[in-house]
């Protein structure tokens, strides 16, 4: 598939549902891994791999392929699940995830399996790498586009802002940042937006340690779009589980030849599995047997 296929939105939603199944099954089998931030970007990756990106699973090192660079390198269940659906990975291998000897490592490793563009796992590094890829395209006169997936945490690392400044400065119009803005990070809520305040004052700036094993208001990123604009980027705010909206934003970003574009996707961490939704606990925790069963059921699968 050297050109992006034009799947219908229903078909894409079906793919997304299967990817979600991979995510919960892989993390369950591995007894570890990151379901929350994987589930929140499913529609983004589905839209990229099945509608927008020019790529060829038979030829993963095709020089003209569009690049998907995942900065949030912990979201491997998402990436491997999507690559399996796209034909890069044998779906039977997915359950080897995180096991000794597997190709499917806990955090991404470049080229392992082919289709994975970047080694990641330390946040903040993807946009720089993506910028390098985008500058190479310009130098080589190639018209591929580079898409970087970033997280809340990525956006707190200074390196991301170094890269943002440089991309703006170098007019890297062939680079698009997509931010999975689920407002939850490792220790809890980035801000108060998704935190349900039961009488606790939300006024305390910074690091209000909760009773229930989360922290609220760890590091507020707002006004987020203003930040990107001030660093020389076009911005779009998008409902991050709406495939049509994502498609339109990606299309516009690709066509923009003035500035790189940051697409801020408002998402729900854990999306699609009720007990994981907006729950910081499932950032880095696998579902139990019962939880897997419930998750699969909610997703409409027998197993």
């Amino acid at each position: 598939m050297a050109q992006a296929p034009s799947a219908s939105t229903e078909e894409l939603q079906e793919v997304a549902r299967r990817v979600r199944r991979h995510i919960v099954r892989m993390t369950h089998a591995a007894k570890s891994g990151h379901p929350g931030g994987s589930l929140s970007s499913v529609e983004i990756l589905t839209t990229l791999y099945f509608r927008v990106m020019r790529h060829d699973p038979k030829n993963p090192s095709w020089p003209d392929r569009d690049r998907f660079v995942m900065s949030k390198g912990h979201a491997t269940p998402l990436l491997y699940g999507t690559l399996a659906e796209a034909g890069y990975i044998d779906p039977d291998d997915l359950l080897t995830f995180r096991q000794l000897g597997t190709k499917l490592q806990g955090h991404t490793i470049m080229g392992k399996p082919p289709g994975v563009e970047m080694t990641a796992g330390a946040l903040g590094m993807g946009l720089s790498f993506g910028l390098g890829v985008a500058l190479a395209a310009r130098l080589d006169g190639r018209d591929y586009h580079t898409y970087c997936l970033l997280s809340d945490g990525d956006s707190q690392e200074g390196q991301t802002w170094e890269a943002a400044m440089a991309a703006g400065h170098h007019n890297a119009t062939n680079l698009t940042a997509i931010i999975d803005r689920n407002h939850i990070q490792n220790d809890g809520y980035s801000d108060y937006q998704r935190y349900d305040d039961d009488g606790n004052s939300p006024d305390r700036p910074g690091g209000w340690v909760m009773e229930d094993n989360h922290t609220a208001n760890i590091m507020n990123l707002e006004p987020f779009a203003d930040k990107w604009r001030a660093f020389g980027w076009e911005t779009q705010l998008v409902k991050g589980h709406d495939i049509e909206a994502i498609s339109a934003a990606l299309q516009a970003a690709r066509e923009d030849d003035e500035r790189p574009t940051a697409i801020i996707c408002e998402t729900t961490k854990g999306r699609g599995v009720s007990f994981m939704e907006n729950n910081p606990d499932f950032h880095g925790k696998a579902p139990s047997d019962e939880q897997l069963a419930q998750a699969l059921q909610e997703l409409g699968f027998e197993e």
Partner: protein, 316 residues
């Protein structure tokens, strides 16, 4: 020394110990980079919210802020994973802590291949090298949670930069509460005269197991817990070289630059002695921590084998 206490991760004691010290009136603060639950730092934050400063995922800033707090008289702890601190903020540690000797204490968790399933990126195998490259840092690596707690307290009560390395998994308790950590002293875990096993971290237990095996073969192995890497125990090391003439080092860390490097260099300077090295040579991979210890030959069996090799090199 071994008692029946339940296994415990060294990283579990940070928050509770800081809270205890703050309750005792020490002017402790803690700066965090979104790993406060993993390093247990939030247990301090919960009790002393005004003394706990989350910075989001921003290790460079974490170190700089800690140094600023320290410059105003605070005992400034910060914590993260050992791949990110020192790795993601080395220059900040060098400039804001090591050179001016600010009173900053870095507590790093998830060191070594025993970090496990996340794989190579998450397994810090070079953090001791990095920390030892800053000559003003005290560098500590506890063998169990008891020692870890005492190190945190010693760090808090001793002016200047400290690094404490801790591990993710729950491991065996080796010391009872009567143990007293001393900076620069390597606890003698078992005496012997044929070979010395110098280990740190969770491999101290493995070295003890190896010594047991060796005893069965008639080899008496001395076991030292090299928990204080800077200052290190020069006397214990030279005595080991003199008394046993053969040394094995064992660490969940790259061989080059860590304990093995430190021991080699001290011996080359004063008492050349055959050394065999148990440790990592390349990056890690995904797996459970116990599988990975096997996979990378960080086992009692490998230590015992290395002891045999070291002994066989004695006479040459």
């Amino acid at each position: 020394m071994v008692q029946a206490a339940a296994d415990k991760a060294t990283r579990e004691v940070l928050g509770p110990t800081l809270a205890k010290l703050a309750r005792e009136g020490l002017d402790v603060v803690c700066v965090d980079a979104d790993l406060g639950y993993s390093t247990s730092a939030v247990k301090f934050g919960r009790e002393f919210p005004d003394r706990f400063f989350p910075m989001g995922v921003a290790e460079q800033n974490m170190i700089g802020v800690a140094a600023g707090l320290a410059s105003c008289g605070k005992i400034a702890f910060c914590s993260s994973f050992a791949v990110f601190a020192p790795g993601h903020c080395f220059d900040q540690l060098r400039m804001a802590v090591a050179q001016p000797r600010t009173n900053v204490k870095l507590f790093a968790s998830h060191a070594g291949v025993v970090t496990g399933e996340d794989g190579a990126s998450a397994e810090a195998l070079e953090d001791l090298t990095l920390m030892l490259s800053m000559p003003t840092f005290n560098v500590l690596f506890p063998a169990d949670a008891v020692e870890c707690e005492q190190m945190i307290e010693a760090a808090a009560r001793t002016d200047g930069p400290f690094y404490i390395r801790s591990m993710r998994p729950k491991t065996r308790i080796l010391f009872d509460d009567a143990h007293r950590f001393e900076l620069g002293k390597w606890p003698l875990m078992r005496d012997g005269k044929n070979v010395t096993l110098i280990a740190c971290g969770e491999l101290v237990k493995s070295a003890l197991d190896a010594a047991e095996t060796l005893a069965g073969q008639g080899v008496e192995a001395r076991v030292l817990n090299a928990s204080s890497l800077r200052p290190f125990d020069r006397e214990a090391l030279l005595a080991a070289a003199r008394d046993t003439g053969a040394i094995v080092t064992a660490e969940d860390h790259f061989i080059q630059g860590g304990l093995g490097g430190l021991v080699s260099q001290a011996l080359a300077a004063e008492q050349p002695t055959p050394v065999e090295f148990i440790g990592m040579e390349g990056y890690g991979t995904s797996g459970t921590w116990k599988q990975l210890l096997e996979h990378f030959d960080l086992t009692p069996e490998a230590i015992a084998r290395a002891a045999g090799n070291a002994i066989s090199r004695k006479s040459r």
